[in-house]
């Protein structure tokens, strides 16, 4: 067990439309720029105005993997936020709130009046609160103003003036300051999981992106649409997810590196075409950013209920399913997924979820780790056969427009030229050809760390998990009393059964941790290795695990 760290949390809350999330993001940017480790989470209901929204910023001078509920500062943009979050304050924690007078832990600050004085819209009042936070945390106001200039450009002036107001108010009243540790001066970038994933795709040569909006996948579409000119990416929003995937496959057939994303419902609409991609051997990346619950579910909350679903596409062909656990992995697996799709001419699924997609963290995205890997080029020419039999199952790839090559793809079973067939010999041979790719896929995946072990690697107590539970689990390791190791599976299909078996066989106690009801990872492990986990810790109330209570639960099991 590690020593307890210097961990600080600030929560900004208000009604939807109050700008709580953007204010918290600016604080996170500031803390990142001065060198802290930062994690920001957001919670909001599926509506545009009203309803309780909040964002929590946790930071430390040491590595943190998850945010913490215990608050040092609560910025309440309405009374409801005080009522809901007051109990989360630490002993010395305080509330910044626009009220008549100071009251014990509640420090009044006339946010609305300041905005009004300035002739600024009420949403800008958060800038005064951020100024006040700069006083409490003894952060250079100039650093905050730099952020305002970057984010708001020529509209930064009012924000800057308001931040000074807040700062001066607290300074004059000598509000107690919090002494922060000295941050390590590491240059990091604040990104959420969706942005990191999209950056990975771009680094691996993304050319076209098609998507239909669906929370929590939409911000990938927004981010790429914003970057479309800079990176010369064509970004389109067609009529529905069925159009999305079919256009994307047309685009891949025409030779462009293409991706799309949705959440469970939209992903379900794409299944028929994804199976076609397997059959026609078209390269495509499809991300499923899972939300909580079944069907429309809880639109703005997190869950891991789609693992069993996405690894069981209709029909049979070699499937690839990757699941990053944090922003840095989302970046690397974003790049890897597009490369695998093109190397092996097959669809690749990336599992994200709301927590990973929308949480922000101060990251070091290592762009040297992603290189563009292309497909086996064709000699083209008159004798071109799209589905030519080869030892490794991969046929040379030509595109319409290539000289003399006639490129015929077909969703029916087909012969080497791509003509429809019902010959039993060819049907068998083509099925085997597609599955022959597995060998190469496994070899390629072996170059990357697809099963990671953390904590006391020799311990016989093992936690197993996939995806975004990583944050809470790695953070919980700091508070688990008995020696324990945590095993993360990043590639779920094809699963490295031999390595996983080896690791799990050394364990006396295996505890499975998932954000779903049925323990889909545990089922996968049993299916592939025959090993049964001893205990499952499952959360399916739409919220992610919280490190301290998770550590408590694990401590009770290991007692």
């Amino acid at each position: 067990m590690m020593k307890k760290q210097n961990i600080f949390s600030v929560l900004v809350g208000g009604a939807a439309g109050d700008g709580a999330r953007e204010a918290a993001a600016n604080l996170s940017r500031l803390l990142t720029n001065v060198g802290f480790e930062v994690i920001q989470t957001v919670e909001y209901p599926s509506l545009i105005r009203g309803g309780h929204n909040f964002a929590r910023v946790t930071f430390s001078d040491d590595k943190i993997h998850s945010d913490y509920e215990a608050l040092d500062i609560l910025v309440a943009l309405n009374k409801e936020t005080v009522d809901l979050h007051f109990k989360e304050l630490k002993k010395d924690g305080l509330v910044i709130f626009d009220c008549e007078k100071q009251d014990k832990k509640i420090i009044n600050l006339p946010l609305c009046a300041y905005a009004k004085e300035m002739g600024a819209p009420p949403i800008l009042r958060t800038a005064a609160a951020l100024g006040a936070i700069c006083w409490i945390l003894n952060l250079d106001l100039e650093e905050l103003n730099k952020i305002f200039k970057t984010v708001f450009k020529d509209k930064a002036e009012a924000n800057i003036k308001l931040s000074v107001k807040g700062y001066e108010n607290f300074k004059n009243r000598k509000i107690t300051q919090i002494k922060l540790p000295k941050p390590k001066k590491i240059i990091r970038k604040l990104v959420d999981g969706n942005e990191a994933f999209a950056e990975g795709l771009i680094k691996a040569g993304l050319e076209n992106y098609f998507a239909y909006p669906m929370t929590p996948s939409s911000s990938i579409l927004h981010f790429l649409a914003g970057k479309a000119h800079e990176y010369k990416i064509k970004v389109a929003q067609p009529e529905n997810e069925i159009a999305v995937i079919n256009m994307a496959l047309g685009s891949a057939y025409a030779g462009k590196r293409t991706a799309t994303a949705s959440t469970g419902g939209g992903f379900a609409l794409m299944l028929e075409a994804m199976a076609m991609a397997g059959m026609e051997e078209l390269p495509i990346v499809v991300a499923d950013s899972q939300r909580a619950g079944t069907s429309t579910g809880v639109a703005t909350r997190t869950g891991q209920g789609d693992l069993a679903f996405v690894r069981n596409l209709p029909g049979e062909f070699p499937q690839i399913v990757l699941a990053p656990g944090d922003q840095e992995e989302a970046y690397l697996l974003g790049g890897l997924s597009l490369n695998l799709a093109w190397q092996f001419q097959t669809p690749v699924v990336v599992l994200l979820d709301k927590l990973l997609s929308e949480n922000m963290s101060a990251c070091q995205l290592d762009d040297k780790k992603i290189k563009i890997i292309s497909s086996k080029p064709s000699k083209a020419g008159k004798k071109y056969q799209r589905y030519e039999f080869t030892d490794d199952g991969i046929s040379p790839l030509a595109f319409p427009g290539d000289k003399d090559a006639v490129v015929k793809v077909c969703s029916y079973e087909h012969d080497e030229k791509g003509y429809i067939t019902d010959s039993s010999e060819i049907t068998k041979a083509m099925c085997e050809k597609r599955f022959a790719k597995i060998k190469g896929i496994v070899k390629e995946l072996a170059k990357h760390e697809m099963i990671k072990v953390y904590g006391d690697t020799k311990s016989k107590n093992t936690l197993v998990f996939f995806g975004s539970t990583k944050g809470a689990i790695l953070e919980a390791l700091k508070y688990i009393k008995k020696p324990v190791r945590a095993v993360q599976i990043l590639c779920l299909e094809p699963l490295d059964t031999a390595q996983l078996k080896k690791i799990l066989k050394e364990s006396n106690r295996i505890i499975d941790i998932e954000n779903n009801y049925t323990g889909q990872l545990a089922n996968l492990i049993r299916e592939k290795t025959g090993i049964e986990v001893c205990k499952k810790i499952l959360r399916y109330d739409s919220f992610p695990f919280e490190p301290l209570s998770l550590a408590d639960t694990i401590n009770k099991i290991l007692k």
Partner: protein, 256 residues
Amino acid sequence: MIDLNTQAKNTWCPGCTNFLILSAFKNVLNELFSTGLNKDNVVMTAGIGCHGKIADYVNINSFISLHGREVATATGIKLANPKLTVVAFAGDGDAYAEGIEHLVHAAKRNSNITLLVHNNQVFGLTTGQVTPTSVKGYKGRSTPFGSVEEPLNPLSVLLSSGATFVARTYAGNLQEMQVIMKKAIQHKGFSVVDILQPCISFKDTREYFKERVCELEKNYPTDKLDMALVEVRSNGDKIPCGIFYQVQKPIFEDSF
């Protein structure tokens, strides 16, 4: 003349009117090749149904897609490489039932692709069920007592959706079909040709169409949307064929 035949075995019924559409398409391609179109830059997509097999019978780039998705596939191909000439083949069940949303939106965005619909008012490959263009009262295997729904007028829908080239032709008139097919492919923007065809196995309308199919008047103006909307609906004793509407509008792919 480029030989566009393939080694694929043709599995259409003997005497199927799809042979006429196939023949017209190959003739049109050769006409276009002779005036500079590069064969390497042509792609055809197809849905699923009897019509879809046409991709196997033409020796050019092709993408047999899913039932109803040939237009979405074609849009993706065109956006990825606007140099390609992309022609989508569809059936009436395929395009007007399963995938009609893609037609409406392709027309709305004016994607520069061509859609040729083999409209025989029946599902052939699945042995004779009702489709959106079947006449009311049609008795098929899924409607043994007669269908209760009014047929859809697809060209009216596509005109309203913003299609910039809307035409109807009859598979039995090879020469006219070729002229319209060629103009549709040459059109810059979303072009659609509803090709009426008898299905000799499940809905033999040869006599029915022979009596009714007629050409639009010689001086018919093709730039009047209101007139086109009236004209495409005027199917009764006479079924007018020809180009109902053709205008130029900004093209989707040019905006990228």
